[in-house]
Symmetry: C2
Subunit: 343 residues, 2 copies
DNA sequence: CACGCATCTGTGAGCGTTCACAGTAGAGAA
DNA sequence: TTCTCTACTGTGAACGCTCACAGATGCGTG
């Protein structure tokens, strides 16, 4: 190490410095940097040594200027802020994506578009080419962002099946419907017969699909679906609490509830506790997600695990493929029933 | 709008296109873009109209190439991964910083440096100038990252007072010690006399300062500090549970606990519940943070609120000032006691 | 009238990289 | 030998922007 041991920023070495040090031309250094094709072993070795010696790091701005690529991707949240930081799933997903991208040496830009104003600004930023692609998280069907981005030709992968989209768009999702089926079957296997459900918002894929799974199993068992056993929530704790309260009023003989998210299930537990119902003795409760919330609930939640690590890895894989020119793809991943104390 | 209504990416307009459209030179457009000094009102108006018409967005790569600035900042987490997504505080902080930066149109790059390997890669990335500054979150004193960055001359703001630093470094922190004092005083005011504490890791500022506040109040009240009433945790739920179990064994006459984080307090509640102690009747529990965890606990936690929104806003303000050439600064913000069911 | 000064404008250079192209050398085929 | 082909290397010319500078104009002052 020959360089600046003392503080303060020196002018960093350029590709030119490396070329001089290695006794080759800029072009050769550039070729080594980009895969090393058409470079003699001797030259490659010399360049690598020079890179180590000078501490050279490629200037991404210069590279981006010419390639038109930014070598970064955006992680876009269109939810209103509060949902973001209340929902543990987002964090797991964010972390997974960051790490999967880091393996490709691609930084992740976190973008929050809560208000229409922010949305406009961020759309400009994205469509100006400052990111190569976008990981889009949980947009409601009313959300125009996905369509706008797709129309602008920006590579895009959604988390969760986008509902109501006309044309093809990449997405990665857990098999919501199948997970819901597993849970409802489990509740029935416990001997429960008045199985209710607290759904997610019905303009989200999770809301729709998990409810569909619930209906399917009941129908399959020849049980008529009682609409009084269905209440919709908004994925928040408070929403779950309110929904459970309604459920108890409409159907006091309730003996099990399938709740479409763990966070709502926490609210459900609160409501049941206040109503003096014991869990799981009087009413069995099943959640969805297997988020950290499932473990902090009392009793711990029986739930459906979403494979977040695989979801994030697949989102990144599909996005990079799409940036590389491949066609959009849909990936559906299996869920897993996790049995704990609440059911 | 005259441009590409159809999908697919066209070559985006450049500053040259805007200049031609406005009938001025590149230089004038550039001046308008950068504050509009030394530009006649007529020219400025023409340029703005041309920008609107062409849909021009500045190419940050080209700009960065010459200015040497990236117009982005990094949000660096040096914690091992699990802490990140288990701790609700991080999310609040992350969101706050993202929004505060967005107001300056500066994107935030999320960086996770869990393993030494990742750390090296990210340090290279940062020191190569790909971000203008770094928001550093909660580094243990053993963590060399802060010193390395400072030595490299990278503008830096830490969240929480860095302990054991030789020279000055910017940081923003809640007044941990004062918050702890408030809580312990509150517990004493309830008539409790065997007040224990579960500390954070003692190589973190929060761990050290909150314990110091605890000791101060007891000393001030003339109560001798019983070391059996002190157990250290690691800010995790499990750590809190283990610490509480130790505390109960060492000091069965415990009648209150000040826990240095809400998450640990959840673990403490679990341990107390298992031991058959009622909260708050038998043992009062006070947390710290006022994170979402405080509300999901049963009973809800009496805790010390950290002003996360202000903390994030101040971190961004201080960082931008430092990037602008100002000297490092330390900011300490007041906490607030929040009384709920657990004490 | 000449001069300084402030305000405004255009122009060339250059930031650090990649890309296309034009070379060079050596090996093998005709 | 000569020609072709492959492997490798160097060299301008961009990419889109900012910066320094030079020029132009108008106004007040000596």
């Amino acid at each position: 190490m020959t360089m600046n041991a003392t503080g303060g920023r020196r002018r960093p070495p350029t590709i030119h410095d490396v070329a001089r040090e290695a006794g080759v031309s800029r072009g050769t250094v550039s070729r080594v940097l980009n895969g090393g094709h058409y470079v003699s072993p001797a030259a490659e070795e010399a360049v690598n040594a020079a890179i180590r010696k000078t501490g050279y790091v490629v200037n991404r701005h210069a590279r981006s200027l010419i390639t038109g690529r930014s070598d970064s991707v955006g992680f876009l949240l269109t939810e209103p802020q509060e949902r973001f930081f209340e929902d543990p799933n987002f964090n797991v997903l964010l972390r997974g994506c960051t790490q999967a991208l880091a393996a490709h040496d691609i930084p992740l830009l976190l973008m929050l578009a809560g208000t229409p104003d922010e949305r406009r600004r961020i759309m400009r930023y994205i469509t100006a080419g400052h990111v190569d692609g976008v990981l889009l998280v949980s947009s409601h069907s009313g959300d125009p962002v996905a369509d706008e981005l797709r129309d602008a030709g920006v590579p895009l992968v959604a988390c969760g099946k986008p509902i109501g989209r006309a044309s093809k768009m990449s997405y990665v999702a857990a098999d919501d419907r199948d997970g819901a089926r597993d849970m409802v079957r489990h509740l029935l296997s416990l001997g429960r017969r008045r199985v209710g459900t607290v759904t997610g918002p019905l303009d989200t894929p999770g809301g729709v699909e998990r409810l569909a799974g619930y209906r399917e199993v009941l129908a399959g068992e020849g049980i008529e679906v009682d609409e009084r056993l269905i209440a919709s929530g908004d994925y928040s704790r408070a929403g779950g609490e309110a929904a459970a309260t309604r459920l108890l009023a409409q159907a006091p003989d309730l003996d099990a509830v399938f709740v479409a998210s763990d966070l709502m299930a926490q609210g459900v537990l609160t409501a049941l506790h206040r109503a003096g119902r014991r869990v799981p003795q009087d009413i069995a409760v099943g959640g969805f997600d297997d988020s950290p919330a499932a473990l902090s609930a009392r009793p711990e939640l029986t739930t459906v695990r979403q494979p977040w690590d695989r979801i994030s890895a697949e989102m990144v894989r599909v996005l990079l493929a799409q940036i590389g020119g491949e066609d959009p793809a849909a990936v559906i991943l299996p869920t897993e029933l996790v049995i704990r104390g609440s059911a």
